[in-house]
């Protein structure tokens, strides 16, 4: 299989790999780069477990070709904390019992971050809309919605 070079930043770090032409960003991140915070749930764009942020926009990495990400800035939940200091979303999910099995959590947090990056003070309806592409089979969503709203409140307090 023909291999192509791909170069991008992942959570601020330069990454360069040769990948098979046609391989998804999901596979490249998990199997080549070793960022297993990105989860493979359906690999057909329906569950949101693989969601990452590419150049500021939420993307399903299972439907994104790695070779189309040359020069991009990619963010994943695996790079969100600074050492032991959690991002406000991570803290809110942890303290608000917004995880159970944890499999949807990294993609859910990415969807939430993409929302807050664009809209720091979202309404409940904004939050529901923002995570509407992410399936959680454990929590029933309510603790997740509350955690995202709590993180938004924490952000506004720290900004004030």
């Amino acid at each position: 299989m023909k291999k192509v070079p791909v170069q991008f930043t992942l959570n601020g770090e330069e990454k360069a790999e040769f990948v098979e032409s046609g391989v998804t960003l999901l596979k490249a991140l998990r199997e080549k780069i070793g960022d297993t915070s990105v989860k493979a749930g359906c690999q057909q764009g329906t569950c949101g477990s693989c969601a990452v942020i590419v150049d500021g926009e939420l993307r399903l990495s299972c439907l994104t070709l790695a070779e189309r990400c040359g020069g991009a800035a990619i963010e994943t939940t695996g790079g969100l904390a600074h050492g032991e200091v959690l991002h406000p979303l991570q803290r809110a999910f942890n303290e608000g019992f917004a995880t159970q099995c944890g499999f949807c959590t990294p993609g859910m947090i990415m969807a939430a971050k993409a929302l807050l990056d664009h809209n720091p003070q979202p309404s409940r309806e904004d939050v529901v809309e923002a995570i509407s592409g992410n399936i959680c089979r454990c929590t029933g969503y309510e603790p997740i919605i509350q955690a995202i709203l709590a993180a938004a409140r924490a952000n506004s307090l720290s900004a004030a």
Binding site: R30, E31, G34, D35, T36, S37, V38, K39, A40, G41, C42, Q43, Q44, T46, C47, S49, T76, T77, G78, L80, A81, L86, L89, Q90, R91, F93, N94, E95, F97, T99, C101, G102, F103, C104, T105, P106, I109, I135, C136, R137, C138
Partner: protein, 455 residues
């Protein structure tokens, strides 16, 4: 959340250090940082990918299997067939003396459901395994299929599973699990009203976000490390040991982190064949269900058919309850003989009825084998029972909540399966529900207690 501490106040302690205190989940920090290690979060050098060739028919005889073209496909390392499996016919609950063994790991002469595993391809890449699987040629003689409980039990129906010989599981108690309590015919004879209704449900898939799978590493010690998302570590260990005729000490099962289970990951469908592949190739093997397989192949909650006939008095007392329960196991037993047994024991629900008759059948059909799912054998029964309770209340002109107070079980009542009731709290739950939902009931029901029969 509001804690109502006045109920059972003499049974509670409020000076405990851990119980009653909020504590963060031990695993949540890993979840929110993406560092929790799920079974698939491993890159092993030389990893082989396993792809299963599955039956496209509900019921068919296999005339022949031609592997020649698939075997020549670039990247294919090994193809496993039934001949490679040391103990190919198994049943999970043999561990608790449920028999006979009735399911093939890889099909031999027949397939009994659409999706049944026939041949396993091991290849260097997922793509090569997938492509080679398309090149396996299976010659089928399609057989008539039964796709519902009624079809399965109709006279002259095709036999789904020859290991049973008839389309239901034969218990030591006969063709079904039976509960006999009081005199149900006398109860009906003395009843003011009789209501018989039939309830039905379809199979329900758990749809966990993480699909079923495992990764197996053959170790230099001769052991096999199996990273798995099973919910049933010891069922998996013991059944793998039986199927592979391998000493359990050679099997190192690593698990405990499950990306959603809900009962859907208690069957033993991936580990034995992946470990066999690792043994025969000497290479690590990954066998992970696609989303399509998770939805179509992994076992769902059983479809059920429930016939409930009740005799009720004008004052609301249920005096006789007769139930025929049918649990659709699909083509193989898996956990369903146990599910049907639970179903029998669960009736007549959380109500005290003096005359009860239950027949609960585990039925075989040419459908995806069903298995565990949150309260299997009980949940659908509760749906049917509570709909029935509402209908009975309407029949006698009572408020549906008050009707349940009249019939609620209380401590000391003998249940139909001969376990005395203890620790009941149904009345207290309904009293609280009445307040919370602002659904008023007569004062006498608010004075009732689960601890006393009076009132």
């Amino acid at each position: 959340m509001e804690l109502r501490k006045e109920y059972f106040a003499d049974e509670r302690k409020d000076d405990l250090k851990e119980i009653g205190q909020p504590r963060l989940r031990a695993d949540a920090l890993g979840h929110v940082t993406g560092t929790t290690t799920f079974f698939a979060d491993r890159n092993l050098p030389g990893l082989l990918h396993l792809k299963m060739v599955r039956s496209p028919h509900h019921h068919a005889r296999i005339r022949s299997i031609d592997l020649s073209e698939a075997g020549r496909h670039p990247g294919v390392v090994r193809i496993l067939t039934a001949d490679d499996v040391p103990h190919n016919v198994y049943t999970i609950l043999t561990l608790i003396q449920v028999g006979p063994e009735d399911e093939t790991v890889l099909a031999t002469d027949k397939v009994r459901w659409k999706g049944e595993a026939i041949v396993a391809i091991l290849a260097d890449s997922e793509r090569a395994a997938h492509e080679a699987a398309q090149k396996v040629k299976v010659d089928y003689e399609v057989l008539p299929a039964v796709l519902s409980i009624d079809e399965a039990l109709a006279p002259g129906a095709p036999v789904v599973n020859e290991y049973h010989g008839q389309n239901f599981y034969r218990y030591d108690s006969g063709e079904c699990r039976k509960v006999r309590f009081g005199d149900v015919e006398a109860g009906f004879a003395g009843a003011d009203h009789i209501l018989e209704q039939t309830y039905g449900s379809g199979p329900i898939e758990h749809a966990p976000t993480e699909t079923t799978g495992c990764i197996v590493m053959p170790e230099g010690s001769g052991r096999f490390t199996c990273y798995t998302n099973t919910q049933a570590m010891f069922f998996t260990l013991d059944n793998t040991s039986i199927i592979l005729q391998m000493d359990g000490a050679k099997l190192h099962m690593v698990g405990g982190t499950v990306g959603g289970g809900f009962g859907g990951k208690v069957d033993v469908t991936v580990e034995p064949i992946a470990i066999l592949g690792a043994k025969l190739t000497g290479r690590p093997v990954s066998f992970i269900y696609s989303r399509e397989e998770e939805m179509q192949i992994s076992s769902p909650r059983a479809a059920e058919k429930l016939v409930i006939k009740d005799g009720v008095m004008k004052d609301g007392r249920i005096v006789a309850r007769y139930v025929k329960a049918y649990i659709d196991a699909g083509a193989y037993s898996r956990h369903s003989p146990y599910g049907a047994q639970k179903s029998a024991a669960h009736f007549p629900g959380p109500y005290t009825v003096e005359n009860v008759w239950v027949d609960s059948y585990c039925v075989y059909t040419n459908r995806t084998p069903s298995s565990a799912m949150r309260g299997f054998g009980v949940t659908i029964g509760d749906f049917a029972l509570e709909v029935q309770m509402d209908k009975l209340a309407r029949l006698v002109g009572m408020d549906p909540l008050e009707f349940r107070f009249v019939n609620a079980y209380r401590d000391g009542d003998m249940k139909a399966h001969r376990q005395p009731t203890e620790g009941a709290a149904l009345i207290e739950c309904m009293q609280e529900a009445s307040r919370a939902a602002q659904w008023p009931v007569a004062e006498k029901y608010l004075q009732m207690s689960s601890a006393r029969r009076e009132g």
